[in-house]
């Protein structure tokens, strides 16, 4: 086995989970947490090696790896399934984001997790394995396996350590995601069967369906398949009619889990859209681009307006997540390199920024035990560090220039505005001459709303007069400082130097969009 093995990277967290959960590991809380953090750090550093040895200019998948059964047979020969892994410029970034955020979530777990530590840390590691697997899977069957594997740890993470209506929220999360994924399963089986009819080969290999696809699907078949994929990812992203699980799950999950949920799990949906909908069915995406764009615009505006009205701090951040994910849809619907790059960049930026926002909410909740914005106020007086850190993260979220969010949003909006995806579309046989530029212009209004709710929230929480009961509100502890500073460092670095990130995934997208 080579030094850089994706299989090892994926299953390393699982090994950590087994070490923690076994009877041989001491039940001491501090020892468990230290081990978990150390192990998370090792996984993060190991994943950085992949980034370092990744060659952006090389098209297609890298670090390809196929694990066979003893005897050299494919893993599931009767199904035509190979255990094959590989990463391209998009998935390598998301994998590093995953290991990074899991490490930070582990550090942030110190104060918010107070019971059943063995169970908690092993579940986090199982979740990490599942998400890394989704990003590295080069086989549709593997993709489904890892996609559904993440349900169980997430269910327990929300329902055991959460607050409020945690069991309800966890069940809602798992049912929504599972219901979405069965449509994806149907879509995958449909395209596999189509390929089987055409070529007589039963395979789930992703490359067969994307880069080297030899045929176009019939339109109606393609649209149905597209919708099958789209529903699964729309639930995850989430897209507005399917979003109702997200505020519940975010609000009731503990802080580190909210960070992971917003930071990585939503990205799985965006990744799926780019990997499956864009690459497998580009010709259908061209037809349905108006739908995607309209849903994106609705996402941006609707969620932003709802966020303004929120009194619960965590709900506000949750709705801001939905709003920001609309930009991913917009960039995707633009169907050009700039737009899709914007979508990917937005996924990365939102991953970091929303994790930061949830961390801030967690920090406040830990001290005040309330998330009601009217209950708070003037918190900045006692805790300047928390206030300034929160300010940078909040400004990043609303897209201030020179921070990470700005680069992402600008790229996506630029892509959408210069796109020639459609200049009008047929709605019930009536031609509606509304081009993508008009929709982009409408969507940009969302940026104003974002500024409104972020700044208003910030003002009501940190400025103004302080309630007497928050007199003992103390400043950030070292653990919180580490998490917040790491996130801010990334936000500022890639805000000043977006090239550092785009240089990794844009070549992949370039070669991809040429093929489409």
């Amino acid at each position: 086995m080579e030094f850089l093995s994706l299989t090892l990277l994926i299953f390393l967290p699982l090994v950590g989970a087994l070490i923690i959960v076994g009877p041989w590991f001491p039940r001491n809380e501090v020892k468990i947490r230290r081990f978990a953090k150390g192990f998370g750090g090792i996984v993060f550093i190991y994943s950085l090696f992949f980034l370092a040895f990744f060659n952006p200019q090389e098209p297609g998948f890298q670090f390809n790896e196929t694990v066979a059964l003893p005897g050299g047979k494919p893993w599931l020969e009767p199904l035509g399934v190979n255990f094959s892994l590989g990463v391209d410029g998009i998935s390598i970034l998301l994998m590093v984001l995953t290991t990074f955020l899991v490490l930070l979530a582990l550090i942030a777990s110190k104060y918010s997790i107070t019971k059943r530590h063995k169970f908690y840390y092993s579940m986090i590691f199982v979740l990490q394995t599942a998400i890394l697997g989704v990003f590295a899977a080069k086989d549709l069957f593997l993709f489904i396996i890892f996609w559904e594997l993440e349900l169980i740890p997430m269910y327990f993470l929300i329902s055991v350590w959460g607050t409020g209506r945690k069991e309800y929220s966890a069940m809602k999360f798992i049912l929504y995601t599972f219901a979405g994924s069965v449509f994806m399963l149907a879509a995958i089986l449909a395209i596999v069967y189509y390929n089987y009819l055409q070529t007589g080969i039963l395979t789930f290999d992703l490359n067969t369906y994307t880069y080297m696809k030899a045929f176009a699907y019939p339109t109606v078949f393609g649209i149905l398949t597209f919708l099958g994929f789209f529903i699964a990812f729309a639930v995850k992203l989430p897209v507005v009619p399917f979003h109702t699980w997200l505020p519940d799950a975010h609000v009731d999950a503990p802080t580190p889990v909210s960070m992971l949920l917003a930071g990585i799990l939503l990205k799985v949906g965006g990744y799926g859209l780019i990997r499956m909908n864009l690459q497998i069915l580009p010709e259908i995406l061209k037809i349905l681009a108006p739908l995607v764009i309209i849903l994106g615009v609705i996402n941006i505006l609707y969620a932003a307006i709802i966020a303004i009205a929120q009194k619960d701090l965590k709900k506000l951040v949750a709705y801001s997540s939905i709003s920001h994910m609309g930009i991913v849809l917009l960039g995707l619907g633009a169907m050009n390199v700039a737009g899709v790059s914007g979508a990917v960049f937005q996924m990365m930026a939102h991953g970091i920024i929303s994790a930061g926002l949830f961390m801030v909410v967690g920090v406040i909740y830990l001290r005040t035990h309330t998330r009601e914005i009217p209950e708070l106020g003037g918190l900045g007086q006692n805790s300047p560090k928390i206030m300034y850190f929160s300010m940078i993260i909040a400004l990043g979220s609303l897209g201030l220039p020179l921070l990470m969010g700005f680069a992402a949003e600008t790229l996506a909006f630029y892509g959408a505005f210069t796109s020639q995806a459609f200049s009008g579309f047929n709605l019930f046989n009536i031609y509606v001459p509304v081009s993508i530029q008009v929709f982009t212009a409408i969507a940009i209004i969302g940026v104003i709303f974002t500024a409104v709710y972020i700044l208003w929230m910030f003002q009501r929480v940190f400025w103004g007069n302080m309630f007497y009961k928050w007199k003992k509100f103390h400043d950030a502890s070292p653990h919180e400082m580490v998490v917040l500073i790491s996130l801010i460092a990334v936000i500022v670095f890639f805000g000043l130097y977006p090239e550092g990130m785009t240089s990794i995934f844009v070549p992949t997208l370039d070669s991809l969009m040429k093929l489409i």
Binding site: P78, L79, I144, M171, V182, L189, A190, Y196, G200
Partner: protein, 521 residues
């Protein structure tokens, strides 16, 4: 001498079973009331020997024995192995459970082994009379097993209900047989098949098929012949309920597969009928399971739903579908016995069987809860458990059977979402509900045999998932000995490597009697 030869080439396991059944019967009245426990070891030896004897037998090709009333081939081998493995699990579950039976423990093993003998004969039955006799051997023993706890009112109710429904189903099936006999004037399945191959499907044949389906549908608990299941599973002794939900069902599917592949290969109308039954069965089972509070009733509805999924494999009329069914039944053996073992552990310790009684187990009995959770997740079809792989393989088989099955597939997929909800509800109770104060003040000891079953089942659930490939190949019962049942085989230009439709036959009719190369397994 012919009988001895028959035994040697085909009926070795059955003969061993018969010997040990007689031995068990004699021992149960010859030995004292306080020494009945020894019978457990005798019957365990018998079943194990029967299982082992299959390894020395040659299962390549077709062997028709007992005046052509029984066929032994690779298909019957696989199903007989599932049945015997299920019987061994049931025996282990019984070991500690029989304490509640009073002094008559011996007959229980006798009845259990007789039922298994019936099930094994059912797998290879090649004659209408044989089908009926084997089915009744299985059924009548099961009726008695259900009512074995005499003083328990629910057990008596279960036995009576099962008896009445069973008798009605058998009557319907016999009526169907009489139609078939009326059309063909033959009782041997091969001969009937030969006759029917030139016979156009008409309403009488469809009625006969439906009546026969009623008889088999009763065994596999398919809607609308399912209504006995919840009461029987709730009232019968737990090992018997486990036995009925796996072994009896496997036998029912085996005979149904043989009927479909031999008598009615590739008749589209029967495909539609079976698909309708499958969809109704799974939907009704899943929807009814949602409201259950008793874990045993819930498992009954869950087993109905699973019968629906499995039936789908038969409805699509491809070899791949039957392979998927077989693989599904193998995984079902492990996951279902795992859950029933857990139910028995709880029942032995607390005497309760409501879902709420599982509360707080997760904290106190970590490994037991983990095992139960894995089995439940497997039933729900969550990776990386075996249940996911068997479901996926089945769905793949349905998808590859043709686009006309796409709506059925989508309904099935939606059903799995419903199913996930009620399985998750149990898991939620195990891990999230605080434990009631009155219970568990003392830690209960889990009996070793039940623990053993649980461990094997969990290992099976995990390993069958990860190493599914060889097992799927082994469950390719029809792939290698296929009859041309594949009407919906996709029109591929080049032969796909995985769906060989070789001209070998499941049961070679007289005109192709020569042993065919490539049939061998």
């Amino acid at each position: 001498m012919e009988l001895l030869n028959d035994i040697k080439i085909a009926l070795l396991p059955e003969s061993i079973m018969v010997l040990f059944i007689i031995l068990t019967a004699v021992l149960s009245f010859a030995s004292g009331k306080d020494r009945q426990d020894a019978i457990f070891y005798v019957s365990l030896t018998g079943v194990t020997l029967a299982l082992l004897s299959m390894s020395v037998m040659d299962f390549s090709g077709e062997k028709e024995v007992l005046y052509k009333s029984f066929t032994s081939n690779y298909f019957t081998l696989v199903y007989r192995v599932i049945i015997l493995a299920g019987t061994i699990f049931t025996l282990f579950l019984t070991k500690d459970y029989v304490k509640g039976f009073g002094k008559n423990k011996g007959e229980f093993y006798f009845l259990l082994m007789t039922a298994s003998l019936g099930a094994m004969l059912l797998c290879g039955a090649n004659d209408l009379i044989m089908v009926f006799v084997a089915l009744e051997t299985l059924s009548i023993s099961s009726f008695a097993l259900c009512g074995y706890t005499k003083s328990d009112r629910l057990s008596n109710e279960a036995a009576l209900k099962y008896l009445v429904f069973g008798a009605a189903a058998s009557a319907a099936m016999l009526y169907g047989f009489s139609f078939i006999y009326g059309i063909t004037a033959r009782t041997n399945l091969q001969e009937i098949s030969g006759f029917l191959s030139t016979y156009e499907v008409n309403s009488i044949l469809i009625i006969a098929f439906l009546l026969v389906l009623a008889g088999f549908g009763f065994k596999i608990a398919a809607v609308p012949f399912q209504s006995w299941a919840p009461d029987v599973y709730e009232g019968a002794p737990i090992p018997v309920a486990a036995y009925l939900s796996v072994v009896s069902k496997t036998a029912g599917f085996a005979v149904l597969i043989r009927f479909m592949t031999v008598l009615f290969p590739g008749v589209a109308i029967f495909s539609i009928i079976l698909a309708t039954f499958a969809v109704i069965t799974m939907t009704a089972g899943n929807l009814t399971a949602l409201g259950q509070r008793n874990i045993r009733r819930l498992m009954a509805y869950s087993s109905i739903a699973h019968a629906g999924y499995i039936l789908l494999g038969l409805a699509i009329l491809t070899n791949d579908g039957i392979t998927a069914m077989t693989f599904y039944l193998i995984t079902y053996l492990f996951m279902n016995f795992g859950v029933w073992a857990a139910i028995e552990i709880l029942a032995l310790a607390t005497g309760k069987d409501n879902i709420d009684d599982f509360s707080g187990l997760g904290k106190k009995y970590g490994y037991f809860s983990l095992g139960l959770t894995l089995c439940l997740l497997s039933l729900a079809g969550i990776p990386v458990t075996a249940g996911f792989f068997s479901k996926f393989y089945l769905f793949k088989a349905v998808a590859v059977a043709g686009y006309e099955f796409m709506p059925v597939l989508v309904i099935t997929l939606v059903n799995t979402v419903i199913a996930l909800f009620y399985y998750m509800r149990i898991i939620r109770v195990i891990y999230l509900k605080p434990e009631p104060e009155i219970r568990h003040e003392r830690v209960f000891r889990i009996a070793l045999p039940v623990k053993f079953v649980m461990a094997i089942c969990v290992a099976g659930v995990l390993l069958l998932g990860i190493f599914a490939s060889p097992v799927i190949e082994k469950s390719g019962v029809i792939n290698t000995t296929s009859q041309g049942i594949a009407v919906n085989q996709p029109p591929v230009s080049s032969q796909p490597p995985l769906l060989t439709s070789s001209p070998c036959l499941l049961t070679s009719p007289p005109l192709l009697a020569s042993p065919n190369d490539g049939c061998g397994y």
